[in-house]
């Protein structure tokens, strides 16, 4: 699907582009060969407006005030909880490819001078799948947010469960849900920001548990895989099935936020949540 929306440039964003230099790649939107550097820091196709998937740190650069990000638990590392053959090697390979230790980066930052806890998943690391480390880092992030009374902004992108951790991965859904409920019961704000792709167990837990659920345009968001549904139904699904726009229509997303407007939108939401109450 094409996305030809014109975006407003936000002047307060000053970060340099971080696209890999000198590489060409086919755009998944228009199939044209695009010089990757021409995508710019927002990684938007100049020809068709298609959003490329961001790495966690590319996203952090777009969303956090300059130099405000402080990372938590960056060395928390996977073990092989059920002795799954080859899991250690898979992890090592993903770590070498992405320069990350796990599929999520967490920490605190400022968004237009307002301090928040932030978590950003990275689909380049084993499809952002939900393993023990991801579950533990999110849990610790919310526990920190409860302790210091901070809002949490979580950018999701995940294929769902980490298959190599089987049942332990499933338990992460309950573990993270419990800490999110605790954070919520303390009257604190959780903004879930869904990006492409967010499916399976992540959709069926923290992606859908935000007080406010935002999504990037044309992101794949769903519980079941499209092919699984097509196989059972033997019917074709509409083109926009399981897109952000589809979920907005069905009532499961509050607002679709174009990539260039994320900083401004988050800043405005946080501002309204931080003004004094009526008794002051």
């Amino acid at each position: 699907m094409l996305n030809k929306k014109k975006y407003i440039q936000i002047p307060s964003q000053k970060y340099e582009a971080n696209a890999p230099v000198g590489t060409f790649d086919k755009c998944s939107g228009c199939n044209k060969i695009i010089y990757q550097k021409s995508l710019g820091k927002y990684k938007i196709c100049p020809k068709c407006g298609q959003l490329s998937r961001l790495t966690a740190f590319e996203r952090i650069k777009l969303v956090c005030d300059k130099d405000s990000f402080v990372e938590f638990n960056e060395n928390l590392n996977s073990v092989n909880p059920i002795n799954f053959p080859g899991y250690e090697n898979k992890i090592k390979k993903a770590q070498q490819q992405t320069n990350l230790t796990s599929a999520i980066v967490t920490g605190t930052c400022n968004i237009h001078y307002k301090k928040v806890c932030i978590g950003v998943m990275d689909s380049h690391f084993m499809m952002g799948s939900l393993g023990s480390v991801v579950g533990e880092k999110i849990t610790r992030l919310f526990e920190y947010a409860i302790k210091y009374k901070l809002p949490v902004v979580l950018f999701t992108c995940s294929g769902g469960a980490r298959m190599q951790e089987t049942i332990i991965s499933l338990m992460q859904m309950a573990k993270v849900s419990a800490v999110i409920k605790r954070h919520s019961d303390h009257g604190l704000l959780y903004i879930s920001f869904i990006t492409d792709p967010t499916t399976g167990g992540v959709t069926a837990s923290f992606a859908m548990q935000g007080d406010i659920i935002l999504a990037e345009p044309n992101a794949l968001i769903g519980f079941a895989g499209r092919r699984v549904i097509e196989q059972t139904l033997k019917e074709n699904l509409p083109d926009n099935f399981q897109t952000s726009e589809f979920l907005l229509e069905c009532g499961f997303v509050d607002k679709i936020v174009p990539r260039r407007e994320i900083y401004e939108t988050l800043s405005n939401i946080l501002k309204i949540h931080l003004v004094g109450d009526y008794n002051e």
């Binding site: 590392n77 579950g135 859908m208």
Partner: protein
């Protein structure tokens, strides 16, 4: 000793007692309640109120059929979003009237379909996980057959999770697992072994708190002893859980799930 995949086949046996059988044989005075108060009544979830040893409980189960006709009604025990919402409604009702909640789980997984997506399958499961974590009354979940993924977990954020001897609990079906990892459906048996989905594997991993024995000649032939064992287990466990104040109960439940995961 039977292999993990043999257990999967036993767990899926169509003649295995259904949640309704467990409810009718373990509790007295069961009154079934319907509907999610929003969209429709999902027959894949049955629930209502009952007594055990004269004390009130809320009971909820995922219902499979034992023949095609029943399975069409219950959608083969594959719950739609409105089914999870019905279950949550009954759980909230239980909480209001201070009734412990007993869940029976037997599902291949949450239903995967166009309408389930349109009505928010992900959101429905997510909501149950969120709300169950702080329900103020004791929750016991019993996996009686298949415990399929998020669709099972949506009724299993409990203080105590127990499993029948031949039941399984997993992140995905062994067939699905095999097709993701090896791009083929016919390695389901190998997948089942790897996945640690049997009752004893799950006990080792502390995912479940106890295994409840089944008769050696098949649960479908003689379930009376197992019904009794479950009944005794529920009574014993409720006796302990009901002594805790709700704050302590919720705190223990939080820790139970907080501890899952291994990392370094």
């Amino acid at each position: 000793m039977s292999s993990a995949y043999d257990k999967v086949k036993i767990a899926r046996n169509i003649k295995r007692p259904t949640s309704l059988d467990f409810i009718n044989n373990i509790f007295d005075d069961f009154i079934e309640f319907a509907g999610d108060r929003s969209f429709r009544d999902d027959k894949a979830i049955i629930g209502g109120i009952a007594t055990i040893d004269k004390k009130p409980v809320t009971v909820i189960g995922i219902q499979k059929g034992q023949n095609l006709e029943d399975n069409i009604k219950t959608n083969f025990g594959q719950v739609h979003p409105e089914g999870y919402r019905k279950a949550l409604r009954l759980m909230k009702q239980g909480e209001k009237f201070n009734r412990p909640i007993i869940c029976f789980i037997n599902t291949a997984g949450a239903f995967c379909g166009k309408e389930a997506e349109e009505r928010g399958q992900g959101e429905a499961i997510a909501k149950n996980l969120l709300e169950m974590s702080t329900l103020k009354v004791p929750i016991i979940s019993i996996i009686t057959g298949e415990g399929g993924s998020g669709g099972a977990l949506a009724l299993a954020v409990a203080d105590n999770v127990v499993i029948l001897e031949n039941a399984v609990y997993s992140v995905l079906s062994p067939e699905g697992f095999s097709s993701i990892l090896w791009k083929s459906n016919d390695k389901a048996s190998d997948a089942a072994t790897l996945m640690k989905l049997t009752a004893s594997d799950l006990l080792d991993l502390k995912i479940v708190d106890k295994i409840i024995a089944e008769p050696s000649n098949g649960l479908e032939n003689n379930a009376d002893l197992t019904y009794d064992l479950i009944k005794v287990y529920i009574l014993k466990t409720l006796y302990t859980l009901c002594k805790l104040d709700s704050e302590q109960l919720i705190c223990n439940r939080y820790d139970r799930f907080r501890n899952f995961g291994m990392y370094t």
